[in-house]
Subunit: 422 residues, 2 copies
């Protein structure tokens, strides 16, 4: 007999079905036992008087054959009666916390220590289903625009991109590093495919213990050529975000924010001006936005533009990486942007330099030795179009979508300063 | 004016168009110059008599506006005439090898040293477009069967899976390792989502310099629960492979092998028997297949079953990892398989153990300390269904599809014993 999923049981009322899943709950009354079976689709109540069905530990994997029976009092209006039951696993051990309660009461550290178990709680799954759907939406939008998906090296010869916070590796006796982003590679590949994207892990040896940083996270990277400037990048990113949201809504559902046709945008200098005027504290000389400023702008966008999203453009060149393209009119500002989602920076992007001479000048200005950059500079030596791109942090995206307090709630097996297990 | 792609120029004959791309070729005759522009879609010939259009180095990025003109002698029956030309990049440097010739003549090491340039050659791109399309096909088949895409840690606390060939990392002063596969994580996640897949990098400190091994490759991993045995896994894998091929055919095209409705299958013991009889060399006591045996079986499948694919099932338990499920009838053999594609092992898969007691017994039999496995064993302590899965090496897949002699030809920026750059 084909397996029936919990969520589709109501379509089988009056018929014999076979279910399989985890024993989510066992409630033994004097004359009757209520079992709840959990599978990937949901929960089903099973009513039994068979004494052999008592005493099975919760989380044991079972197969149940029985009659799908309408019962207005049962969750979903249907339950399984006259069950025959077979164990598919050995009886489960004693649980360190209850999974059957609607709210998972264990604290986050306990949940993380018992991730293989805690993640089974229905309340934990939704974030990851949203993540998977969002990534599918990201790919869908870019595939339709003839982007090519690529895989780039995660082991690199030098800690070139930002210099700090890299993990060192022993590479056959030579030093090497874990890549902090696919930035250099995706740019080089614009020279090959014009338009590329990558979904993959990036690594930051983040020495601070915060609720929004991880040592490994999933970066949704895109980069493409033949743009005018960063505003082209922002337009595509808007469509990508809208596609992620649409696929999340379609596959997972629930309350999800609306992505406006045009995301409101404010120049960095105007943002600091506004914050200074509004708070009375003069922050106009700041080179970057503090988290409190991002929250301010998030509130402003929600109030003034009815948008959960806001672009901040033109960050000062001093705070952006050397490959950033300056604003030709005001060269102390950049053709770059951040996208703030619900008051937190979610995406960084912009236009990049595309001429070798500009790269060499930028490295010179930093006093950086160009030697470790030579294989990257090759691409620009041989002709590269004006180009740009962006990177979205996936776990941060789902944390904002689900309004999780800690990014570890939207990471299956987080890695941080203290945690390497499971 | 909207940009027109090279491949769609014929649809614009008689009209003014704007093209952009790389100067693929410049051929200067006495009275006329033929330029060839290359973009992501193909090549276009440009005819010009303007002296300013001479002397532009190949690979410089240009924008050309002009008239799409029918010309039976031009490639594709169309060319651009009366061009106005604008450089979008500085003039390119002198190329170390010609890109305009139909065949890229540089040797593989030279190509790899100049990857950002060599990959631009049209002959190099197809493999990566096939790879991207194949991954899309992989996801498409599994998404339709309600698999959930996941991201798992690439930094792990112990070198537990195979013990050898791992890269060590300095993780905030503690030793850690790069994950050799997502095996443990995808199994734990079967307990959460029932069905999962991951496309991501895996790392092997492969100390041998071969044409088919890399230090980093892309693994297409799937794992799911509620199977009967490895034959269920083989049936799904067949559909996945067929989906990969179909999407590759649809998006890239060209001559691609047919995936039979049922992939022929031979038991390991029968395979050795057949090889022994056919070659006269008695290999029946061998615990594994040598590359020559895989080639033999590839030829056999092609000749006898008209199939480029063949399953070898029931590999001896001694050669399979400790989580492998034995064949209940013949416990020295396993419920596992390899899929051989064109004479090379492409996929390994099978049924896994699902009861904690069996894991502990398997580790005991190996004399292994269970301590580093405890967080993995947790999943089995709390009830896991019978499950299995497989892993496909993406670069190896495209190498076999394109019949590339060396896996480095189907890897954008390969990492091996000697190579960390670009």
């Amino acid at each position: 007999m084909e397996r029936t999923l919990a969520a589709s049981l109501a379509a089988h009322i009056g018929r014999e079905v076979r279910l399989a899943g985890w024993l989510h709950r066992s409630r033994e009354l004097a004359n009757v036992t209520f079992l709840v079976l959990r599978d990937a689709s949901g929960l089903v109540q099973i009513v039994t008087t068979d004494p052999a069905h008592r005493g099975i530990p919760e989380e044991t994997v079972i197969e149940v054959t029985g009659l799908a029976t309408a019962n207005a009092k049962a969750p979903g209006g249907v339950e399984l009666t006259e069950p025959r039951l077979r164990l598919l696993s050995d009886p489960a051990g004693t649980l360190p916390f209850d999974l059957f309660r609607p709210i998972l009461k264990a604290g986050l550290p306990v949940q993380l220590d018992h991730a293989p178990l805690a993640l089974r709680h229905p309340s934990r799954r939704r974030a990851f289903e949203l993540a998977a759907a969002s990534v599918a939406g990201f790919r869908g939008v870019l595939d339709a625009r003839r982007f090519v998906e690529v895989s780039t090296p995660k082991i690199v010869a030098s800690a070139t991109e930002s210099g700090a916070n890299v993990f060192g590796i022993d590479y056959f006796g030579r030093p090497a590093f874990l890549a902090q982003s696919p930035q250099f590679y995706k740019q080089m590949l614009v020279g090959v495919f014009e338009r590329v994207y990558e979904v993959g892990p990036v690594f930051r040896a983040e020495p601070h213990d915060t609720t929004r940083h991880l040592s490994q996270y999933t970066s949704l990277d895109a980069e493409w050529g033949f743009i005018e400037d960063h505003r082209d990048v922002m337009r595509v990113l808007r469509d990508v975000i809208a596609g992620m949201m649409a696929t999340a809504a379609e596959r997972v559902g629930g309350e999800l924010p609306v992505v406006p046709e045009e995301i409101p945008s404010i120049h960095f200098a105007d943002a600091l001006d506004m914050i200074s005027k509004s708070t009375g504290e003069d922050v106009r000389a700041e080179p970057d936005l503090a988290p409190a400023h991002e929250r301010f702008l998030g509130d402003w966008a929600r109030t003034e533009h009815n948008s959960e999203f806001v672009y901040v453009t033109g960050y000062p060149m001093v705070k952006r990486p050397f490959y950033t393209h300056p604003d030709r009119q005001r060269p102390e500002f950049s053709n770059s942007f951040d996208l703030i989602f619900r008051g937190v920076e979610l995406v960084t992007g912009g236009q990049r330099l595309h001429n070798e001479a500009d790269y060499r000048a930028a490295l010179r200005a930093l006093g950086a030795d160009p030697a470790p950059y030579e294989s990257y500079l090759q691409a620009f030596h041989f002709g590269m179009p004006p180009h740009g791109g962006f990177a979205i942090g996936l776990e941060r995206w789902t944390a904002r979508l689900t309004e999780a307090a800690n990014i570890r709630q939207t990471t299956l097996f987080p890695r941080d300063l203290h945690r390497l297990n499971p």
